[in-house]
């Protein structure tokens, strides 16, 4: 079923906007804002605020309506629906089905110094009431920390015979994360070791579909919990192990 934004009444299509136009404020500014939104396809536009925030810039706060709608059922994507297990079940699965410790190496790569995300997933103390991977007796988890060059990460993963590589990317300004993530994939492929790892990336602007596009096995976004990641890792490594 096609749905539309809901403001006050079903299907009224009301949306809120704010934006700045690089122009001096004048008596007609409100109309410029209004016509601009109309150009974008909105109607019944109400300019709530239109004010000079500088002699060269005018800020708009507005409401408008759209007739466009979307059918959520037609939105299909590569969503990662993790079959979440608990801590004991995960350790049990690894022990039973893999028969050895699962080895995992993680890092925030290249210029990215944000470690809180990867720490949340890996460090002992964990996050959101879940233990981090380091605490799992059946995992051998190493968190390299921040600003790790791709080459160093791959080298370490190879040395430790890692099953899984975890990469964190937080800074996305000018799409720098795409650059770094591509660099890592290219390096791994150049070394001909792509098949050896389950490659996972996470960060606030990451999702599974995007990660797959870049060539990763999975991607995790904001508010990921260690349990989700551990469940996915264990299941995927075991699956590959059984397949081989």
């Amino acid at each position: 079923m096609v749905i539309r934004p809901y403001g006050d009444t079903r299907d009224d299509g009301i949306m809120q906007f704010s934006f700045t136009l690089p122009m001096p404020y004048s008596i007609k500014s409100a109309d410029v804002g209004k016509q601009f939104l109309e150009k974008l396809g909105f109607h019944t536009v109400a300019i709530a605020e239109c004010k000079a925030i500088d002699p060269q810039y005018t800020l708009f706060v507005a409401y408008g309506r759209t007739d466009a709608g979307i059918d959520p059922d037609e939105v299909k994507g590569d969503y990662l629906e993790v079959d979440e297990m608990d801590y004991y079940a995960i350790n049990g699965l690894i022990k039973d089905k893999l028969g050895r410790k699962l080895s995992v190496v993680g890092a925030a790569i290249e210029s990215d110094a944000h470690t809180v995300g990867i720490d949340a997933i890996m460090n002992m103390k964990g996050f959101a009431g879940n233990y981090g991977l380091e605490r799992y007796p059946e995992m051998d988890a190493l968190n390299l920390g921040s600003q790790i060059p791709c080459a160093q990460l791959v080298k370490t993963a190879l040395e430790r015979d890692a099953d899984v590589i975890l990469v964190s990317q937080i800074v996305t300004q000018k799409n720098i994360h795409v650059q770094h993530l591509t660099q890592l994939i290219e390096l791994i492929e150049a070394e001909g070791v792509r098949e050896r790892f389950v490659l996972i990336v996470g960060g606030p602007r990451i999702n599974n579909a995007f990660a797959k596009e870049l060539g990763y096995d999975a991607g995790f976004g904001p508010r990921t919990t260690p349990l989700e990641v551990a469940s996915f890792m264990a299941q995927e490594v075991v699956r590959r192990h059984e397949d081989s």
């Binding site: 239109c50 060269q56 800020l59 920390g145 300004q173 720098i176 904001p222």
Partner: protein
């Protein structure tokens, strides 16, 4: 509000004494070492600037070329070569870079002359800094002074021209201090980039030319508004003293300068950082620059409720190092803030306790209060409210420099309009609550007073423990921010040199001697309501 909370004065003394002993211990290490960036800063103070054909700064070329001479200090051989060639500093540097000139140990008989000349040049270098400082004093007096708390916002477009335009817009909206955020990981570069730049990631390169361009933009808008607008950039990183030099010459007014930030958050070697921060702070001190320390960062990795006291201990340590680097209290902008999870009941109550504690521990210091970041939601409306209560805490506890939170903190570096909205938020809260603190007194023995004394107690204990084990070991053991650092690891260790017995650097003395003191002072701002407001 300076005695609003009854703090245990003995514990304050214990904490300060321990911090002092900690700094004294490290100061010995500092005095026994130099670093490549220290020597490069020395060259910059001589007036050297520019890059070679592959964009390596001349000071790096010279220092690299003279690597084995660095333990003795670059000044003696360099000035000797100036004397020998009859060239000025820039020409000598260019000669060295071109391979036409070479630096070498100075024979005993030429030492005295070189040293005398070097001392004179050091005086000249410092005089340039003094002139800039004097100019600031003049400008503040002419233009007008902002009302505290200073409203401090960042620009971070990556393009210095966009930054300048946005900084001017921010000033018109009410900002008093503009900090230009550096491009991602510039602090890890072992050189300072050169020239104007228009590409950066999450920030703009700190270069001397960029400093100059921004300074010009702010002077312009300050004159327009009748309010001197302060400029801030970052010293901390691999090139602390060099950037401090640039800041001194281009009339920056504030610099992020933390004695330990590079170690903890950039994994820069600790032996290096302590040495670097010393000269950089001596320069900041001379230049009349207010330093900002970076304790807020601790609580992005550690939990604010549990580990808030580490901010307090670190403030004591930063204070001790700052005093040793000749900074006056009005220049010591200790950073603090305790970003407790907004979901915690009474979050603001605890936030007030912590902020008030630090306010009382460092009276007369222009404390910099840091905004919520870690817990900022994607819901920008809710984020705006969290920022509002933070602004409230700031005005209620008498903070002097308010780094404003942005409603989009969880998303992107601030858009033009984000900054505007945040400034309006802060201005409203400050003005509407300005006299509230003076209207109330804290309940003796209440949860606020208890929390404050408890934080203080823990800080004192931590400092005494650190004094016991030494600061190097403490950093190794992760006393701050839950981050552990290897004393011999991290970047820049290769650039640390034990000084030779005859180490010579006249700047240290020159920077200390005969300096001016006191903060600039000016009349109340010309127009407190920005002109732009007129139109709607």
């Amino acid at each position: 509000m300076n005695d609003a909370l009854r703090l245990n004065a003995d514990v304050v003394d214990r904490a300060r004494a321990a911090a002092s002993a900690i700094a004294d211990d490290i100061q010995q290490h500092i005095e026994r070492h130099t670093t490549d960036t220290t020597e490069r800063a020395t060259l910059r103070l001589l007036g050297i600037s520019g890059v070679n054909e592959i964009d390596v700064p001349l000071v790096n070329v010279v220092a690299e070329h003279a690597r084995e001479l660095l333990p003795g200090g670059i000044m003696r051989p360099f000035v000797d070569l100036m004397i020998q060639t009859g060239k000025n500093a820039q020409q000598v540097a260019e000669g060295v870079a071109a391979g036409d000139l070479a630096l070498a140990d100075v024979p005993a008989e030429r030492r005295a002359a070189a040293e005398t000349r070097a001392a004179a040049l050091a005086e000249e270098g410092v005089a340039r800094i003094d002139a800039v400082r004097a100019r600031r004093n003049e400008l503040v007096a002419e233009t007008g002074e902002a009302v505290k708390p200073y409203v401090y916002v960042i620009v971070a477009t990556g393009n210095i021209y966009e930054d300048a335009a946005q900084a001017q817009a921010a000033a018109r909206a009410g900002a008093d201090v503009i900090a230009v955020i550096r491009t991602t990981a510039q602090s890890l570069l072992d050189y300072v980039p050169f020239g104007e730049t228009t590409e950066g990631f999450g920030g703009t390169y700190a270069t001397q030319e960029n400093f100059r361009l921004m300074r010009k933009a702010l002077d312009e808008v300050g004159a327009e508004l009748g309010r001197y607008i302060r400029l801030c950039n970052y010293a901390s990183g691999l090139c602390m003293p060099e950037i401090a030099t640039m800041g001194a010459l281009e009339r920056l007014d504030m610099m992020l300068n933390d004695s330990m930030y590079g170690i903890i958050f950039r994994n820069i070697n600790m032996r290096r950082t302590f040495v670097d921060q010393y000269l950089s702070r001596l320069i900041n001190a001379r230049a009349g620059i207010i330093i900002n320390t970076g304790e807020d960062n601790y609580l992005t990795t550690a939990d604010a409720f549990e580990k808030g006291f580490t901010v307090v201990s670190s403030d004591f340590i930063n204070e001790a190092f700052a005093l040793r680097a000749n900074l006056e209290p009005w220049q010591i902008g200790l950073g603090h803030a305790f970003e407790i999870d907004p979901a915690k009941p009474d979050q603001v109550v605890y936030q007030i306790a912590d902020a008030q504690l630090v306010r009382q521990l460092f009276p007369g210091y222009p404390l910099k209060y840091m905004p919520p970041t870690k817990y900022m939601p994607g819901d920008i409306f809710q984020g705006h409210i969290i920022d509002g209560m933070f602004n409230f805490t700031g005005i209620f506890t008498g903070q002097e420099i308010m780094l404003l939170g942005m409603l989009t903190e969880a998303l992107h570096t601030p858009l033009l309009q984000d900054r505007y909205l945040s400034i309006k938020n802060a201005k409203y809260v400050f003005e509407s609550c300005r006299d509230l603190a003076g209207e109330v007194t804290y309940k003796p023995g209440g949860m606020i007073e208890q929390r404050a004394n408890d934080q203080l107690q823990k800080a004192a204990e931590q400092l005494e423990h650190v004094r016991e084990i030494g600061l190097f070991t403490a950093l190794e053991e992760g006393e701050f921010a839950d981050v552990k650092r290897d004393p011999r690891g991290g970047r820049g260790f290769e650039g640390v040199f034990e000084v030779a017995a005859d180490y010579f650097n006249p700047f240290f003395a020159a920077l200390r001697e005969g300096r001016m003191s006191g903060a600039p002072a000016g009349p109340a701002p010309g127009a407190s309501i920005p002109a732009a407001e007129g139109g709607h």
